[in-house]
């Protein structure tokens, strides 16, 4: 026997109780790791949004599209390095479960704008030159098992074909990589020209928003104001913001989600803290005579309190490790399915590290009072009980 097995045996004096506590701690840390990873996935998208890009979207409603004629007007302004446009296509691929953004774009202009996306020249050319061509992130192709050459049917909902048909068909001509960090931007891309020709006539010439690369990032705000002023009195006023800000606005709910997650996690940890603290205190009280015996046979006050503290830390760290371990398994399992939406969905080392640190801290906090009480325990008084 060694000291560790002494600690270990004590942990399992009340098996059911220990397993319940272990399970609660496990669930708390599973929740922590997954929620942190979700929040992290959103934040990654925000962090990597270009600072030299402006988003020009409709002033009043994202759903209300802008005329593509805005494009040339904006392009003429000084300080605009380049410009392209995107449109929210909506639509579903084989049911509602397969969610990924779909944007009709101008191939060359789009990839010039998002230089962080990598696409081979061959694929880009193929994309630009095939009317019904589409490109997708590699992770998406992997997830849906698409090969270049596949025909991909998308059922339209916002945008219908000129003949009233809902079925849009695209030919996969290539893939691109988003560096894994693109978050919300990793989308199914297809040719705007085809989209525009094929859709209902009254809706032709409408796009969702413009993306503008500014020549000088320092003047991005001024340029944004200038663009908005330009369309102030038109039928389609705009609201321009840097992409980072836009993403933040788009994901202002994300901020709320982050806040909410922190709220939930705080509540969860607080509950777990009370629960484990109560259990440790209960365990301590039950063991007062035993602790007195340990002291009697020669364990020092410090040794006994360390014993209690170690048990507490071991219990919480074990629960934390199991919870985080389970979160890793879960994220590995569901990662591929949600990757198109989140970019990457994997536990970061920071999440794992923070989680384990919190687990150990929890153990220390929970063990503190019993450990101090154990330290002060007088043998003679304890044995009399």
């Amino acid at each position: 026997m060694n000291k560790f097995s002494l600690i270990w045996s004590n942990l399992f004096r009340r098996k059911v109780r220990t397993f319940l506590i272990l399970f609660s701690v496990l669930v708390a840390f599973l929740l922590f790791a997954l929620l942190r990873t979700v929040a992290g996935a959103f934040e990654v998208g925000i962090d990597f949004a270009g600072v030299d890009r402006l988003n020009v979207s409709p002033k009043y409603s994202i759903i209300d599209p802008l005329p593509i004629t805005h494009l040339n007007e904006i392009d003429r302004l000084e300080g605009v390095a380049s410009i392209t446009h995107q449109t929210w296509f909506g639509g579903t691929y084989q049911g509602l479960n397969n969610f990924f953004p779909k944007f009709p774009v101008n191939p060359r202009a789009y990839f010039a704008m998002y230089s962080e996306f990598e696409i081979s020249d061959v694929h880009l050319e193929a994309f630009a030159n095939s009317r019904t061509g589409a490109v997708v992130p590699e992770s998406m192709a992997r997830q849906y098992d698409w090969q270049v050459g596949d025909r991909i049917p998308i059922e339209g909902d916002i945008w219908l074909m000129a003949d009233g048909g809902k079925l849009w068909e695209f030919d996969l001509v290539g893939t691109y990589t988003t560096g894994g960090e693109a978050g919300l931007s990793s989308a199914f891309l297809f040719n705007y020209d085809y989209f525009d020709e094929a859709r209902v006539e009254q809706t032709q010439g409408l796009v969702g928003w413009f993306t503008v690369k500014v020549a000088n990032p320092d003047e991005a705000a001024a340029l944004a104001a200038e663009i908005d002023a330009l369309f102030e009195n038109s039928m389609n006023p705009t609201r321009s913001a840097t992409e980072a800000e836009f993403t933040r606005q788009f994901a202002s709910q994300v901020g709320d989600i982050g806040l909410m997650m922190n709220g939930i996690l705080s509540a969860v940890f607080f509950t777990i803290l009370l629960l484990t603290a109560n259990t440790m205190m209960q365990t301590f009280r039950e063991r007062i005579p035993e602790l007195a015996v340990l002291k009697t046979v020669g364990f020092t006050d410090v040794a006994v309190s360390l014993l209690i503290m170690s048990e507490s830390i071991l219990l919480c760290a074990l629960g934390g490790a199991l919870g985080i371990g389970l979160a890793i398994l879960v994220s590995d399992a569901i990662g591929p399915q949600v990757e198109a939406f989140f970019g990457t969905f994997r536990l970061s080392t920071a999440t794992i590290g923070t989680g384990m640190a919190i687990a150990v801290l929890l153990g220390i906090v929970v063990g503190l009072f019993p450990a101090l009480s154990a330290n002060r325990l007088q043998i003679v008084d304890a044995l009399r009980k």
């Binding site: 060694n2 097995s5 009697t296 020669g298 020092t300 410090v302």
Partner: protein
Amino acid sequence: MAIVSLKGIDKVYTKGRETVEVLEGIDLEIDEGDFVALMGPSGSGKTTLLNLIGGIDQPTRGSVVVGGQQLVGLSSNKLAKWRSENIGFIFQSYNLLPVLTAQRNVALPLLLTKLSAAQRRRRTEVALQIVGLEDRAKHKPGELSGGQQQRVAIARAIVADPAVLICDEPTGDLDRDTANEILDLLEILNKDYGKTIIMVTHDPKAASHAHHILELDKGQLVKQVA
């Protein structure tokens, strides 16, 4: 030669304004290798006296020298270390750790030594052999009878080879036959292994196993029967 030497011991408990004089002017010497029974009515201070000798309590006044070591004024840490090397404790209610097997309960005091794992295992085996429980090594206290549990407790008390065994009503919870077995075991430890034994008991038959009987009454030693 006296292995235990108490001089002018007073033990006073103060509760608010009330003071209880539990031990009063105790002078006592116990020789090495002796087997002493400590008797007296309930509340006369037997356990208190035993605790002073065992170094788990301190007197209000007086000097406690055990095995040449003055215990009065020793720090809690020093006392703990001293106890682990010099005293074996045997209690009425066995006081085993319920989560540990017999073997591990016995090995407990050895965790405080510098012995190797192999040496600890060997010593534990020997201690269990002495009390005749080597075949129950893997059992937990809950799976053992009272007598067997007390044997485990005795094995734990002797495993670090202390010179003095302190027993507070070691047979108090046992039936006559089992009590006799335990008392025989204590006699063997005294005779064959040279342990000095100080045993509190209410049972005159148990006391008859001892070489001397001390009697406490109201905190004072009233007589010493050879």
